[in-house]
């Protein structure tokens, strides 16, 4: 081979090696952030709000926070199921879950340690003020979804995932299986739209596609921030009404996680009131029960059980178009 040929070949090889090495360097390494090292957090809370909080947390504690988020479609259940599936060799240190019922489920199965609440969200109604200009005609209860007066104008998220599933479990717990099942049948018969997620419900109400919808307080906040003509209604506040379902987030340390020390530090930091306040300021949640609003009484253990029991039924409910 000529000298020229050798030279070009050597150059090509060197380039390839350099690229591969760079890629490998970027790829490998458990990183050694100043002092703390890595901590793997599975997050089922809305990424938009969780991301900055975790970034700050990482900086403050000197930890390399590696977060994994659920997608909207699989809200809460994706990561939960992964935690269960990989319980023998968990990859996660901490689970920041969007509701306490699921955290309780995991605790009862021994996947996580006892959880602690952080911030909370309420299940509220969002009303499109142009389609329903008369405040007196607004829906005031969750049962409006099955009310013939609001035929074909409501929207809710699929009760298979996310906070809607917790809400469904709460209804089953409160009303009993018979009445709850009948309610959901009626909802469907009433032409209420059953959309993929709370985000979809928010979009539908914000554009006026639906006149009202059932979603979380932070979704309502986002819609308002986007400038949509909407208003928030705390449901079931009337005499004898069941009250608003408030769902706190939960932070739970995963048993057998890879970095237990870092997990503990991160968990302790997350449950501080300052974090809840910050989330509230961002519209991501409420620091505590809102003044003047009656909350639904729930037993979290019962809720967790109902969540498990109603899974199959609700899947079938969501399945048929």
């Amino acid at each position: 081979m000529t000298k020229a040929g050798l030279y070009t070949r050597a150059r090509a090889v060197a380039l390839a090696v350099a690229i591969a090495a760079a890629a490998a360097a970027a790829g490998c390494g458990d990183g050694d952030a100043a002092g703390g090292g890595p901590v793997v957090i599975y997050v089922s809370v809305d990424r938009e709000f969780a991301e900055p909080v975790l970034a700050d947390l990482g900086r403050e504690l000197g930890l390399d926070v590696r977060a994994k988020y659920d997608t909207e479609e699989t809200k809460s259940t994706g990561l939960l199921n992964e935690l269960v599936a990989l319980r023998e060799r968990p990859k996660a240190d901490l689970f920041w879950c969007g509701d306490t019922a699921r955290a309780e489920l995991l605790r009862s199965r021994g996947v996580v340690e006892p959880w602690r609440p952080v911030s909370l969200r309420g299940r509220v109604l969002l009303v499109h003020t142009r389609r329903l200009p008369d405040e007196a005609a607004w829906p005031r209860s969750v049962e409006a979804l099955a009310d013939p007066r609001f035929r074909g104008t409501g929207a809710m998220a699929s009760p298979v995932f996310g906070t809607m599933s917790v809400h469904a479990a709460a209804l089953f717990a409160r009303w009993g299986d018979e009445r709850a099942r009948a309610f959901f049948e009626a909802v469907k018969a009433n032409g209420t739209r059953i959309l993929g997620s709370n985000g979809d419900v928010r979009r539908a109400v914000a554009t006026g596609e639906a006149a009202f919808g059932l979603l979380d307080t932070d979704d309502a906040e986002t819609a308002a921030k986007d400038g949509a003509p909407v208003a928030l209604v705390w449901p079931d506040q009337g005499e004898g009404g069941m009250g608003v379902l408030l769902i706190p987030n939960a932070v739970a340390i995963v048993r057998g996680g890879p970095h237990p020390e870092a997990a503990r530090r991160a968990a302790d930091a997350l449950v501080r009131p300052a974090v809840a306040a910050r989330l509230a300021a961002a519209g991501a949640g409420l620091p505590g029960p809102p003044p003047g609003v009656r909350a639904m009484e729930v037993d979290v253990l019962v809720l967790a059980r109902k969540l498990d029991e109603t899974r199959e039924l609700l899947r079938a409910f969501a399945a048929t178009p």
């Binding site: 890629a23 793997v40 938009e48 590696r66 997608t71 199921n81 979704d219 199959e312």
Partner: protein
């Protein structure tokens, strides 16, 4: 040594592609505790998947085939510029196109078909151009003598001869369309790809995922094999065409040129310009800046992963291409069909399959954490493409070169290094660049196997799409668009540079 190298290369390739998919197969009987499968009945799901795929392929053909003829056979001006413009929608992940147009699209299967059709029209355009260029000029000249009307010649001769090639590209478009994950999820279309994702990532129900994957994989592979068969027939259709001589360009006349220009411009505008402008309008400079900051790690991740993936794909593809016996023609053989089929495997199925392999083989944990599984997914995804490209180029070389090297005492490795690689240098570089650009936009295969805390740009958009404020989603999508466009520009510039340096 060559047979050993060949076996090794194929074993490696299959373990990265077919094996993960097969790992989904031994699905146990439905767990007694597992809930009934949510979502539509299998028949409805299949119908929707077929509709999306067929719709996308049809749209891509209607848009792209005329463009291909215009580029390949006429004298419409600025052809080179249009080719560059058309590369953009192909390279941008279709998820980004969905985000860009989502306000103007119907949700569900219809919207998904429209976006996927827009994504894939350049494929049809380039394939049609290639087919049109290879046409035998003699056949058309003979036809012109018998049939004075140019339009009739086109209809009765040119088009039928080009049809198999166009149909092949349309079938491949179908396979790619039904395999995409990002678009149906973003637009709320419930098709196999999205349901499989929800089944596995959501319910962690490998049984359901496998059951749903099956029809999807079968459809994609069948379409790919059909495409392979038709593309082979295209070559046969040009009987007697020893033609290195391309057919003459058809002079369109002023009106024709204007029309052609309008058509191509419209396509370029919708495919390359409109998405960027639309996204730009939905965001603000402040959000753009903060998104850029937040997305920086993901950008770095994307580039590193794409580089590693492209390198691995290239090495594997080169081995597969070079280890073939010297005098065998790849493209029409069994290996060619297998490569096309492997490329058409739905990326989500491969990604989820790898995740399943990970669950079965704890030894791979460290590899997963290091991101090696994501590199493996990319390698498996794009090695077939590299192999097909390099094999086609190798077939243009006289087989006597490799035989001479063998007789002069050089084994497989030495011949590869001293003869094949230098002579295929341009092709190797192009294959790497192509793999790099495509890997940047990959979503379905990498999303499931990325370790916590590490994500690529498309994965980031996928994740924030549903609940981040629109401005931020638009900003992040715009960033992906910019990276893809920049990478494409680099690819084309690099290809031009290398082509010019050939002796």
């Amino acid at each position: 040594m060559r047979p050993a190298a060949r076996a090794l290369a194929w074993i490696a390739l299959l373990s990265l592609t077919a094996l993960p998919v097969l790992a989904l197969a031994p699905a146990p009987l439905p767990d007694a505790r597992a809930p009934a499968e949510a979502g539509a009945s299998p028949a409805a799901l299949l119908a929707r998947t077929l509709a999306v795929g067929a719709g996308a392929a049809a749209l891509a053909t209607v848009l792209g085939a005329p463009a291909g003829f215009l580029l390949g056979r006429t004298d419409v001006p600025l052809r080179g510029a249009f080719r560059v413009a058309f590369a953009v929608p192909l390279v941008v992940p279709p998820l980004i196109l969905a985000v860009a147009f989502e306000a103007h699209l119907p949700r569900g299967a219809t919207g998904a078909a429209l976006v996927l059709g827009l994504w894939l029209f350049p494929l049809l355009a380039f394939a049609t151009e290639a087919v049109a260029r290879r046409a035998d000029p003699g056949v058309e000249e003979a036809a012109r003598l018998l049939e004075p009307s140019r339009a009739a010649v086109f209809r009765r001769v040119t088009l039928p001869l080009a049809a198999p090639g166009i149909a092949a590209a349309a079938l491949l478009a179908f396979a790619l369309a039904i395999g995409d994950l990002g678009v149906p999820v973003a637009l709320g279309a419930r098709v196999h790809a999205s349901e499989v994702f929800v089944d596995f990532a959501g319910a962690h129900d490998p049984g359901a995922a496998a059951r749903r994957c099956g029809p999807l994989i079968l459809l994609a592979v069948a379409a790919a094999l059909g495409a392979h068969r038709l593309w082979g027939r295209r070559a046969a259709a040009a009987i007697g065409a020893r033609g290195e001589r391309p057919p003459p360009a058809v002079a369109l006349g002023r009106a024709g040129r204007a029309l052609g220009l309008a058509w191509l411009s419209a396509l370029a505008a919708v495919g390359a310009v409109a998405p960027a402008l639309g996204l730009l309008r939905r965001t603000t400079p402040a959000v753009l800046a903060s998104s850029a900051r937040l997305a920086l790690p993901a950008a770095g991740e994307s580039l590193a992963l794409a580089a590693a993936g492209a390198t691995a794909a290239l090495v594997l593809g080169l081995l597969v291409a070079a280890a073939r016996p010297v005098r065998a023609r790849l493209a029409r053989g069994l290996e060619g069909a297998a490569l096309v089929a492997l490329f058409a495997l739905p990326p989500a199925a491969v990604g989820i399959g790898l995740l399943r392999v990970l669950a079965l083989l704890p030894a791979l944990d460290r590899a997963h954490d290091a991101g090696a599984l994501a590199v493996a997914a990319l390698a498996g995804r794009f090695a077939p493409l590299a192999a097909l490209l390099l094999a086609a180029l190798r077939e243009r070389l006289p087989p006597s070169l490799e035989e001479a090297a063998a007789l002069l005492g050089h084994g497989f490795a030495s011949t590869l290094g001293r003869v094949l690689a230098p002579l295929l240098a341009t092709g190797i570089a192009v294959a790497w660049l192509l793999g790099f650009v495509l890997a940047l936009g990959e979503l379905g295969a990498t999303f499931p196997v990325l370790p916590a805390g590490r994500e690529t740009l498309p994965a980031r958009v996928f994740s924030i799409h549903a609940n981040a404020p629109d401005a931020r989603v638009a900003a992040s999508s715009l960033l992906v668009f910019a990276v893809a466009a920049a990478a494409t520009a680099a690819l084309l510039a690099g290809a031009r540079l290398l082509a010019r340096r050939r002796p």
